[in-house]
Structures are given as C-alpha cells and as structure tokens.
C-alpha cells in the first residue's frame, strides 16, 4: 500500500536524519507553515495550505560532510529523477511530493545548477535564500530534529520574493502568507523579531517592502517596521 503524503514526508525526514543530511539542510517553503502552526504559532489561522514541493536549502554546500546518493535513497519509495531546465537541476518526483534542493545564488547568477556531489544531485541556485538562515528554529518531530527559518525571516523573505515573481497567482499567495505570519507574530508580541528580520535586509529592499505594505494598507505592520510601536 502506498504511503499517504504526510507519512511519506515523515519517511523522507527519517531517512535524511538517518544518513545525517538533516544537519546540513534547512526545510523551507510551504511545508514550514504546518510546522509553524503546530509548534510555534499555536492558534494561528493561516490555512496550512502546502504544495507538493518540499524544498531543502543547503546553506553551506561546501561544508557537507555526508557522502550519500539521495536519489538512490528515495528510489524504493517511488521517487524518480527529473532534470529541469537547460542545464538540469534535479527534482525528485512522486505523486505526493516533489523534493528539491536549493542553494544561495552567488554573484550575477546563472541558469546553471549547483552540483552537490556529496548528496548525489544538483541544486537550484536562488536569490535571497541566505536570509532564511539568519535565524533558525529547531523543531523536534518524533525525535528528528529539523531546522526551519524563524517565521519573521520567512515572512520578510516572502515579502521580497512576492515582488520578483513572474506569476501573479504565486505572488499573491506569498504576500497573503507573509502578512498572515506577521500578524500572528505581532499578536504573539514578537514585534521586535519582525523589526530585526526587516533590518537584516538591504535599504533598497526595506524601501520596497514598505512600499508594498503601504499599498496593502498594512498599518500595524508598517508601524512595527518603522519602529513606531
């Protein structure tokens, strides 16, 4: 019998934990939302809407000590390797989940994937991912420790990427999640952390975030970011 999506997700985490990969990666993307709701923002009303994509960010790809073949480790679960784009970064496909590895895009950037031979795959380089690692929280799921970005940094990152999205639908989704998370954090009296996350981005992006929030008339969030609370 095939595993359900959440069982499959747990199984991936268990296997990554067993081979020591979880120490080197940070879970990012929509799969963080249910974890925030369950372990951090209890009582949050953000819909735990998540996509099939389960993204792992590798903050220090050169420091990975493991030497494993992730596609092979997930093969018996039915994952198949998909090469995306002209150069081909790797995604592992399954009807319930798509596993991707991401690294920070350096310099001017390129469309080439980033090889991660120690994990047996190629990662996709993307901008602004380092922001997600500035404050990490560790969550214990059935004795498996997983790193995820603090929701304040996650929200600020979403406020940046929403402005770079080509698809309006995705941009809307990012913005909705970001604003909902910021309201939750404010209600939990974590305004200081919102301000800290906001201050960790460049002045140029701070201005763009303010501009966006002004358009959305998010007065309470703006007050926090302008340090007027």
């Amino acid at each position: 019998m095939e595993k359900s999506q959440s069982e499959l997700y747990q199984e991936i985490l268990r296997r990554f934990h067993n081979i020591g990969v979880l120490k080197d990666v940070v879970l990012i993307g929509s799969w963080c939302i249910p974890l925030y709701k369950k372990y951090y923002l209890k009582g949050s009303i953000i819909p735990p809407l998540r996509t099939m994509d389960i993204d792992f960010f590798v903050p220090e790809p050169k420091l990975i000590k493991s030497s494993v073949d992730i596609p092979d480790i997930l093969k018996d679960l039915g994952f198949v390797v998909d090469f995306v784009g002209k150069q081909g970064y790797i995604r592992l496909l399954h009807p319930d989940l798509i596993v991707e590895f991401l690294v920070q895009e350096q310099g001017r950037g390129s469309d080439k994937p980033y090889p991660l031979p120690s994990l047996g795959l190629n990662a996709q380089p993307l901008r602004f991912l380092n922001l997600l690692c500035e404050k990490i929280i560790k969550i214990n799921i059935e004795r498996i420790i997983i790193s995820i970005p603090h929701p304040a940094w996650f929200a600020i990152h979403k406020l940046i990427v929403t402005q770079r999205r080509k698809k309006a639908e995705k941009a809307d989704k990012d913005l909705t999640v970001a604003i909902a998370l910021l309201h939750d954090l404010k209600n939990m009296k974590q305004s200081k952390l919102i301000l800290e996350a906001y201050n960790s981005v460049s002045k140029k992006w701070q201005a763009k975030i303010i501009n966006l929030l002004e358009k959305k008339q998010e007065k309470e969030i703006l007050k926090i970011m302008k340090n007027e609370t």
């Binding site: 996509t51 198949v80 009807p95 809307d172 999640v177």
Partner: protein, 105 residues
C-alpha cells in the same frame, strides 16, 4: 487565500510526474526472469510479451545471482511505478474536475 492557483500548479506538476513515470517504465528492462523445472532440471527463461503474445527466451541452466537480483528489483520497481502512475492519473482527474468546479465522479 485563492486555492485555484495552487490547484493549477499541482495539475502542472502532476502532468509532469505522469510523463516521467511513463518514461521510467519504458526505460526498465522488459520481461521477468523465471525458473522452470523440466524433468528434474532447472532452466531460466525470460518471459516477455511481444505483440500480444507471451514469449519465453531461454537464458541457461545457471544465471548470475546478480542478474536474478536485478530482475527482482526491476519487477518491484515496475509494480511500484505502475501503482504510482495509476495514483497520479486519479490525481489529475480530480484536479481537472476541481478546476472545472465539478465534483469528481
């Protein structure tokens, strides 16, 4: 939060996954390795379906255990991929009907 864009994205992903499983199934070596006992002697055959007919291809009295293991793995993988392909097809049907605003039949 609008759910339609999420469903659209999932549909696009599901179609890609369907294509990928079909490709992977085509890539797997055809047939299954079986052992026949004829007059107290054991012989290995590769069983294939060609143009709707079952064909037995003689492989010899002995086959490298590694090859036997490989065929066993391929068989398991084929079953797995077929099940997952069937699952993804149902998912696509559900997503398409959801996007049309109808309940799946």
């Amino acid at each position: 939060m609008a759910i339609k864009p999420v469903l659209k994205e999932e549909l696009a992903n599901s179609l890609k996954i369907q294509k990928k499983y079909e490709e992977e199934l085509n890539k797997l070596p055809k047939g299954s390795l079986i052992k026949k006992k004829i007059k107290n002697h054991e012989y290995y055959y590769l069983v294939l379906r060609e143009n709707g007919k079952v064909r037995f291809v003689y492989q010899g009295k002995k086959v490298d255990p590694e090859i036997i293991k490989q065929y066993k793995e391929v068989k398991q993988l084929r079953v797995k991929y077929r099940n997952l392909l069937s699952k993804i097809k149902k998912q696509i049907k559900f997503l398409r009907s959801s996007l049309r605003g109808k309940e799946p039949v």
